[in-house]
Symmetry: C2
Subunit: 201 residues, 2 copies
């Protein structure tokens, strides 16, 4: 195939530019936080024209919203282990490893902090978690179908209950979750669900 | 008693100045966030000399650390209802009402966001939660002594488990917790504790 102007597949180049820009944006967020995020700096790091970045993302909040959309698309599919406790353990372990990873953990802390004072970032973050919770909810639904959890269990509430203590410790006390915390989070959510705490009318 | 200079009780005046300055600092945090906190602005709002504020608190992070220390001192004592589930419900309700209060909820979100990028604020926030968790832990210890929960239950872990879903929803999805969320949080922590999830060796 020739690579003359006009014959380059636009999807290919556009996707490469997006990947480079989002990678650079994530690096700045993880290293320096939301307040230091600057489109010109991101363009320089990504080796992409400043005009392209301004035209495509428009603002820092637009860039963070796209980063979160990309993270939701790229993130791991759910695991199915055959039991709801096993699946919740797999979910807890995934969340724990993400938060304990230096780059990813710092990135999430930066975005959550930004969401506290920026409505657009808050909306993008909310959508990110909706996608992730929806990805894992079928594990709980299958557990209900197999009779491991009571009928009427709110599957999304159970998935959120697994994440809650891992994020809470990190955000309020700076304690990076370890494997034991993940195991406790999965078992706690499972015990509460088994006791019918998440049954809705 | 005369009120000549030198005879005014220093505790009285100092305490009044501190209360006015911390009130003003909390107002700015709740209304505008950590980034807008400025010692000169706080002094003006509190009707206190700028020099006094600079000399006593030194920096914005010093001021926030003192605000958190004051919040820990001022916050409500634990309730004792006679059962561990009742006590956890009382704790969940207190946390829920705090986070749902417009001023307090905004203040906590601002301080948690600031803790993500400032080490001194992170330390002050961690100490705040240590004080609050230590205040409520005896409810769980009494529950263990009464045989309502298994021996070896980590009382602080149970108290933290009550708060976790309430904070998690607010911080990651902007969902202000309601009374139903508080009830679910208390019951989930209780069910997990009763199942032995928080027993440590």
């Amino acid at each position: 195939m020739s690579a003359e102007p006009g014959t380059v597949r636009p999807g290919g180049r556009t996707a490469r530019v997006r990947a480079a820009v989002l990678r650079a944006a994530g690096d700045v967020l993880a290293e320096q936080g939301f307040d230091r995020l600057d489109l010109a700096d991101v363009a320089r790091r990504a080796e992409v024209g400043k005009t392209t970045v301004y035209r495509r993302w428009g603002s820092v909040t637009g860039l963070v919203a796209d980063l979160l959309a990309d993270m939701a698309e790229q993130s791991s599919p759910r695991e199915e282990t055959g039991s709801v406790l096993g699946d919740l353990r797999a979910n807890a372990s995934l969340v724990q490893r993400t938060l304990a990873d230096p780059r990813q953990g710092a990135l999430f802390r930066a975005v959550i902090a930004a969401a506290a004072c920026d409505e657009r970032t808050a909306g993008a973050l909310r959508r990110f978690y909706e996608v992730r919770v929806a990805e894992w909810a079928p594990c709980v639904e299958q557990g209900v179908a197999r009779g491991e959890l009571p009928a009427g269990t709110d599957a999304r509430a159970v998935v959120r209950a697994v994440s809650a203590p891992l994020y809470y410790g990190l955000l309020t006390s700076g304690s990076v979750p370890d494997a034991a915390a993940a195991e406790r989070a999965a078992r706690a959510a499972h015990a509460a669900a088994a006791a019918g705490v998440f049954v809705t009318e």
